[in-house]
Structure formats: C-alpha cells, structure tokens
Assembly symmetry: C2
C-alpha cells in the first residue's frame, strides 16, 4: 500500500518539498532557493528531482511507497496534460511538459497544478474549508490569487486560468496593473501598493507591513485606519464574487492575512452591508488554517484525485 | 414514448407557455397577463394549471404524452425541492412548494428554476452556446440577469442565488441600487437608468431606447456615443467575470441586446484591452439566438435533466 505523496511548492523565491502521509500531515521536508536556478530551467527541474530523491531516501522509503508527486507552480498550468504553459515570474518556462519529464526520471506518477489551486485544495480538504461545496480561497501577498471550489470540485476554467481574483476590476478607472489592465483589485491591496501607501502615511520609507500591524495592535489610529481601508477594498472585491457565485465560504490566506484580526471584521461588515441579502446571509469569511503548508498538503489531494480518476 | 414537455415562463408582466418537442422546438403556445392575478397567488397558480391543461387538450394530447412541465420564475428558486423562495416583483410569494402543488393537480412531473437559469439552459443546449463547457448568459433588460454554465453544468450556487451579474459592483462608489447595495452594474445599464440618461442627453422625456437605437443607425453621433458608453460599462463588468472564471463564451440576450450591433464590437474591444491575455484570447461575446423563447425551451432541458437524474 502506497502510504505517501510528495508535494512540491515551486515559488518565485523558494522551492519547498514535503512528504505527506495519508491523513494530510507533512512528515518530512526539504527546501532550496529558486534564484540559484532561476535562469536555467533544466537545473531547476534537476534540483527538484534530486531533492525529491533525497527526501525519499532520507526517510528510508522507496518509489513503491510513493503514491505520486504533486507540483504547484506560479502560473497557468494545463493540469490535464501536465504542461506548464508559462510562469510570469520565472523566465524561460514556456510549454514545458513537466509531468512527463519528472515521471521519466523518478518513475513516480506526477501531477501539476497552479499553486493557488493547490492551496485551495489543501484548505478545502484539510483546512478552513472542510466539507464546503462552494468556496473561494484568496491569497493576499505580493499578488492577489484566488482558487474556486464550485459544485464540490476545483474549478479551473476553460484554459486553466480561472481564479484571477486579483485582476477583477474594483473601479472603471484606476491605476495601471502589471497584467495590462487597470483598476484591478491587486492594484489596491497587493503588497507593493500597501507598502508604498504605508510609507507615505507614516512618512517612513522603510516601514514594513508588519510594523503597521504592530502599530495597529498598539492602538495607533492611522494604522487601524490603514487596515480598515485595506479591508474595505477587499470587501468591495468580494461583494462581486459573493453576488455572482453565491458561495458558502471565503478563506483568506497569504502573508497579509497574518493581520486577519484587523481585516476580518471589516471585510465581513462590507459584505453584509453591500452584498445581496440571500448571498450575504449565507457566506462566511474565515482565515486560512494551513499557512505556508497549504500547497504541499493540497498536492496530496491533487494526486489522490488524479489517481482515482484514472 | 412521452414526446413533449411544457415550458412556462412566469414574468412580472406576462405568463407564456409553450409545448416543446424533443428537438427543442415550440409547437404550440399559450399566453396570459400576470397582472390580473398579481395579488392572488392561488389564482395565478390556478391560471397556470388551467392554461397548461387547455394547451394539452387543444393539441389533442393526454398527460401520458407529456414528459414533464418546467417553470421559470423571476426570483431565487430552490430547484432541488421545487420551492419558490420569494419573487421580488410579484407580491405574496414566499416559500411556495409550487412543484408539489402543480404535480398534484396535473399528475405530470413538475420542475422549477430561476427564469434566467432556464434562459441559460435554453441558449446552452439549443441556442448560441451549443457545446460550450463554460459560459455566462447575460440578460439585459429592466434588470441585468446572469446564468452560469461551469464545468458543463448549470451553476446554481450554495442557496440557488448564483448569477446575480447585475449586482456585481462596477465601482467602489456609485449610485444606490434596489438590492440594498450601491454602484452595481445594473445601476449603470438597467433600462430605467438608460432611459433616464437618454432623456437627459436628447432633452426629450419620452424618448425610448428603441429611438436611440434608430438614431444611432442613422449615424447620430450622440446616439452612437450613448451605446458605446453603455457597451463600455458592460465590457468593464465582463472583464471581472472573464478574469475570474476564464469562460469560453458570453451570450448576450434580453431587450437591450436588440441593439447588439452597436454594443457587441465595443464590448469585445473593452474585454480584449482590459482582461488578462489568456482569458481574453479565449472568450467570445455573441448575441443570444432564441430571443423570448429561450426560457420555454430551457424548461425542456431542465425537465429532461431532472428526469434523467432521478
């Protein structure tokens, strides 16, 4: 009986690996920095394979103990064919058949998906969204990501690009966005924007978001207002999703969600006031439970589902 | 072999019935005004039953020829239990077990859904959306409605209230909306608002939207600009849906879509310029094909699916 899956979370900064047992717990880990391999696709893939192999050996396991390996990558992924379409923040990746490459080297079934989709699968199966049929998982960080579970299944969209919550417009006119659009939700609450706005408010170029959080905790009114305004933007974006999709749950994760205490009540308040009655009564906003491990744990869900469907 | 279904489209103004054959064609019709029964729920239900019965007899059919009756109603419907939760524009309807009431009287299996959901099912199966796995059907009229087909199935949401496209906010600040929110899409492109804005632009209180369409056709620049601005609002609202859901198709129906010629190209243009590349390349905006018949034809799809699932 194959007891483990391996989850690989490929980020722009770090690659994190985890050996996950059948209950969704990470029982061993590995880690390396992405940037050493950033310009060389082959080397990055080689490092992932080497680290996976090390992890298996270190735990005195063999390929026969591993059900599969699941990889989450930051970009649109054709999860059906196992091809990385492209990675906006890691150059050199275009139409890479990563599933086949990894399977050939490791002789373990491999599956790919978008990183936020894996976080969503993790929170849905083992975290804040257990038992929910319709939910949105939002990640607040450098960018704003989204993953959707609809009718009890991950919703990937026509071209595996669904969930781009950060690029729903908040206003008809607004600041230019990296995506080519403008007025996107991410332009108001992405880390860069928040940091810039905090530097201005506190007349301090080196202030960090964590500092603004501590100030708010101490009762600083400008800091409290800063988080309230951020929460209002988040609430306004969620009103559209809640009215359109009538979801049961919004799970908020990512770095900025560490300040959930100052964000949560105001986000809920905006939704209750602005969204339609049936929809707003039904929806609950909660903080993610699995933290940085969600993607690795979600990879287990991906692997199990993919193998069951074969 | 049961050859027909009966579709009933219950609107705030009219109730329209159709006998639909197995190919989705309407082969006989009936019709009456809602307002005569507007204040009396029992009489309205009685009239629907009487008209259905008349239609069957007029066509020299019997209950054994009818696979089922599908009813579309303007409000949130618990389509699983067959209960009308409430109808915002027809007073006196709250938690009405219409499915059971009709089945008892007619001895024909009855099924209910929201009217826009039936339009969506109709366009998806027999109209502009044939073969599509992920689409949005938008109805532009007094209100702005939406229906979603996701992963090849109608998406109803946690409490059967999904699809409220008209109440996705277009801006963080904006005009008050009937729904209790503000800045909703419908506040910018609902018929009342368009009529008011046309009256102002043309300094003519009795001008109709159809007149503005004719003026645009004649080359009147103010009229052309009027439709272009309307289309820009529609495009802006769709950018959010396209980025979030990565749908293949947007089907535009409802009264205002008669002016599709002046709306379509601009809507497509806004999406192509403002939405993300993968999503905007993949999506197509088209005009609905079934006109006012979509709901009655969609009722056939509802009945067939419901009976297959039993």
């Amino acid at each position: 009986m194959k007891r483990y899956t391996i989850g690989v979370d490929v980020g722009g900064t770090n690659v994190r690996l985890g050996l996950v047992n059948r209950s969704g717990a990470i029982v061993a880990r590995a880690f390396f920095e992405t940037k050493s391999f950033c310009r060389n696709k082959k080397k990055l893939i080689g490092a992932i394979i080497a680290q996976t192999w090390d992890l298996i050996k270190r735990e005195r396991l063999a390929t026969k103990d591993i059900l599969g390996i699941g990889l989450g990558l930051p970009g649109p992924i054709d999860s059906k064919r196992g091809v990385v379409n492209f990675l906006p923040n890691i150059p050199g990746w275009k139409n890479v058949p990563l599933k086949n490459i990894i399977q050939k080297k490791l002789h373990i079934p491999a599956f790919l998906d978008n990183d936020v989709n894996l976080i969503t699968l993790g929170e849905w199966t083992y975290g804040a969204g257990i038992g929910c049929q319709n939910l949105l998982c939002m990640t607040l960080g450098t960018g704003v990501g989204g993953g959707l579970v609809l009718n009890g299944a991950l919703y990937r969209g026509e071209g595996f690009a669904a969930g781009e919550l950060g690029h729903m417009p908040l206003n008809e006119k607004g600041p230019d966005c990296n995506c080519g659009g403008f007025g996107c939700f991410e332009c108001y609450v992405g880390n860069a924007r928040l940091q810039k706005s905090a530097a201005k408010i506190f007349k301090n170029k080196s202030i960090q978001l964590q500092d603004v959080f501590l100030l708010a905790k101490q009762g600083n009114t400008r800091a409290i207002r800063f988080w309230e305004e951020t929460a209002a933007h988040i609430g306004n974006a969620l009103v559209g999703v809640v009215n359109l999709l009538n979801i049961r749950l919004v799970v908020i994760g990512g770095g900025v969600s560490n300040n959930y205490r100052f964000l949560g009540p105001k986000i809920t308040d905006v939704i209750k006031r602005r969204a339609m009655k049936v929809q707003s009564k039904m929806v609950k906003v909660v903080r993610a439970k699995l933290g940085d491990d969600a993607g690795i744990i979600g990879a287990q869900v991906l692997v199990k589902e993919a193998i069951r469907e074969r």
